[in-house]
Symmetry: C2
Subunit: 215 residues, 2 copies
Amino acid sequence: MATAGGRRPSATRRAGNRRSQPYDADSLLEVAVKVFTERGYDGTSMEDLARAARITKSSFYYHVSGKEELLRRSLDRALDGLFAVLAEERAVQGRAIDRLEHVVRRSIEVLVDQLPHVTLLLRVRGNTRVERRALERRREFGRAITKLVSEAVSEGDLRAGIDEGLTARLLFGMINSVVDWYRPNGGSLTAGSLADAVVSLTVEGWRQPGAQPRR
Amino acid sequence: MATAGGRRPSATRRAGNRRSQPYDADSLLEVAVKVFTERGYDGTSMEDLARAARITKSSFYYHVSGKEELLRRSLDRALDGLFAVLAEERAVQGRAIDRLEHVVRRSIEVLVDQLPHVTLLLRVRGNTRVERRALERRREFGRAITKLVSEAVSEGDLRAGIDEGLTARLLFGMINSVVDWYRPNGGSLTAGSLADAVVSLTVEGWRQPGAQPRR
DNA sequence: GTCTATATTACGATAGAC
DNA sequence: GTCTATCGTAATATAGAC
């Protein structure tokens, strides 16, 4: 999965806030997006970013044109990851219910893998052109999910009578909410076991199989 | 449900952005929180608020001490609503599974009823004391939900083997995600039918009852 | 590449007239 | 209660030395 590019010049080097070698635009993006997710994009100043990188504002500006470039690159990373999932073999071939499950599982992987970027994406409000473009792509992703749910109903694998758009929204609402608490260092909770929990909860429900229906 | 106070001096009067009678602190809170949810709290300036209220910044300051007072009052409104649910008769008496369902349904009602305030609450980052206090109360609410899920497992009404904390988080993640798309003017989708969808999806799952298990 | 210093604008907040 | 005018601060961004 990784960061999609090839070379990784400073990812490990910078781990632990160690300040030794000069920055490049990519390593500063990492720093920035981390701070954005902690304090919010609008709540973060270039001074905050520079302090987190242990350099001055001016040095920061040497590498990037400004806050919005950082936001744009981060949002693109998240969106490219999600759309790549929609293009995968198992997302386009087979029964809709299987394609849906695949997209759910892989989306959770992308979310965990690109956690800060996806987090930022999910909090965008649409105040600038960059943000509005991201929102539009997000809506496009949502439409693709709704279509999958719709087809799964048509093919008889989801209960008829459910509202496709609503179900899709609630499903991805559940998935997206993961960014609010998931922390990679947590250890045992992998993207896979998280996906298991989500799929289990939405597919089978939490009802105790033996239990009497309660109404 | 309403706005908890008694008199409603300008709620209807202000509907439709009509500008006629003088403001008070409560009617300005409504205006402000609406803008906050659209542009984000940090992304909103007092100038923005004043423009939305069709008065000047100075006039706005005549009624409120500043942005943070507006935030504090909004967050308190959301949190008070949610905690009131936990204190309701049906949230403290009976089987845990029934108490849980009641809290889920009533929380959705509060969310819909106090939509902008709950929206703001869910987006708080913890940058100020006011925000950190709200986050702490939110965590306390979360712990109460986890406890309910836990008890429902103990009482044998939820499948054993599920992770209580994870289930609680995913459940309320699904519920909370509603603020990202629900619009009251939408018409036919009431809090009740929304709650039905959430309960149905999480309790029964979306599997077609007649369908063969697929793995 | 990184720094100090600074230009410029935006923002939160207040003073004082009406 | 609302206005115009303004103060002080903090933010984005750049210039120029090293």
